[in-house]
Chain length 273, copies 2
Amino acid sequence: MQGMSKRHAFDAAIALQPQGGGLFQGATSPAYANMIGPFGGITAAQVLHAVMVHPHRQGVPVALTVNYAAAVADGRFVVHAHPVRTNRSTQHWMIELRQQDHVVITGTALTALRRQTWGGHEITMPQVPRPDQVPEASGRIGSAWIERYEWRMIEGGVPQVWDGRGQDASVTRLWVRDQPPRPLDFEALASLSDVFFPRIWLRRATIVPVGTVTLTIYFHADEQTLAQAGTGYVLGQSRGSGMRNGYFDEQAHLWSESGELLVTTHQMIYYKE
Amino acid sequence: MQGMSKRHAFDAAIALQPQGGGLFQGATSPAYANMIGPFGGITAAQVLHAVMVHPHRQGVPVALTVNYAAAVADGRFVVHAHPVRTNRSTQHWMIELRQQDHVVITGTALTALRRQTWGGHEITMPQVPRPDQVPEASGRIGSAWIERYEWRMIEGGVPQVWDGRGQDASVTRLWVRDQPPRPLDFEALASLSDVFFPRIWLRRATIVPVGTVTLTIYFHADEQTLAQAGTGYVLGQSRGSGMRNGYFDEQAHLWSESGELLVTTHQMIYYKE
């Protein structure tokens, strides 16, 4: 029956062909296209996927850093995922994505065998309305990747009027999930870590040209957490901290619908103004 | 007269001998020893220094990720800093630190030519007493590196009693600077990004074995900011967000004494309990 079920766009987008020696061939996905090149989140998911399908992987992702060294061109790419250090319970990866032999993306990842310990989250999910109490966003700006997600904006949406009268704070809170729903996995979390529109748009109420230059994701979720989260919504909360001379940072947290912390993530973004 | 002035311990610790081809030889510094191996901050400063002294470097650091793949052994090491992509205004680096041909540290860095733009910080320096109003900490636990800094703890210090009765929140605020004072540079900021004792000690009031596995630093400061900050104190504020199954994260901000945001930093830490 498998041949009859249509593959989810996300699975199609992150699919890689093993070439041996830690090399994997993939291609950009028109379904996840951004204004220029692909959505940064899908690129992060693709490079993480190379680690996930690597035959020597040990454990699950704990940390991932993805550096956007150049624009990813539409078309094929090769990812090289290399486990440079394997310890008893941790494994460190270096990753490169190349197009026509030029480095386009670099990254590092840490996978680990996690064992049960005391735990306690200090940043708790904010009190927000349930997903079904928040209207689904429609009439979004026209990048393909935005259609791949279902959006329920709680606060801090894209400015309604681009009048240059920005606000002092840039907090965004939203419910989001794959459209159509798909069970959460690490690659999905990597992609979801990049769904927040750039904080500077809220601060300036102007479409400032921007581009993520580096993205780091810390996975609090393990396989058990993911299984519990299933196809539920994810609550995302993002804010900026500093904007100066061409670069600003954002941080975000992702929680499962039931309030489990899934991800802490940070990125540095280039802006031109 | 230069020969008569004693080199600062920090400059001695980060000193590297170029070997050609982006290879630099260095050594751990007893002055920055931690309980086991060196202080993680000095290792971050050493690998960043390899980028800073690389003859092909373009621009100043914007982001740095350092992965602690294994314990750094006392003694010599070789750092390889490699500019894998150089664009018009940005340059992406991959970094490896090796000992006896084993990878011990991996990292990536972004340097950039920064130009003046609109800016605006959203996370502002908290209202705290001036450094001279905060008593200098004394009688610190006995790692050498701690003596290399002057500490003025405002709140959230190391628990006075290790009675297992931790607290819900883990915010630490402190004034800190090199001891003796030394003008701030990027390497100093890299090291200062790791001065916060592990958040889990505050949460648990127990000496839980810990080790940073990955550290990311975003530099808001450029050369002008650093020149203005000079040898002044740095205000650091740190807190945790999630602790689960062997790993927790911390985030911190560093400000100059006059309130300029210098750094946003995050790390993921292994713990055993």
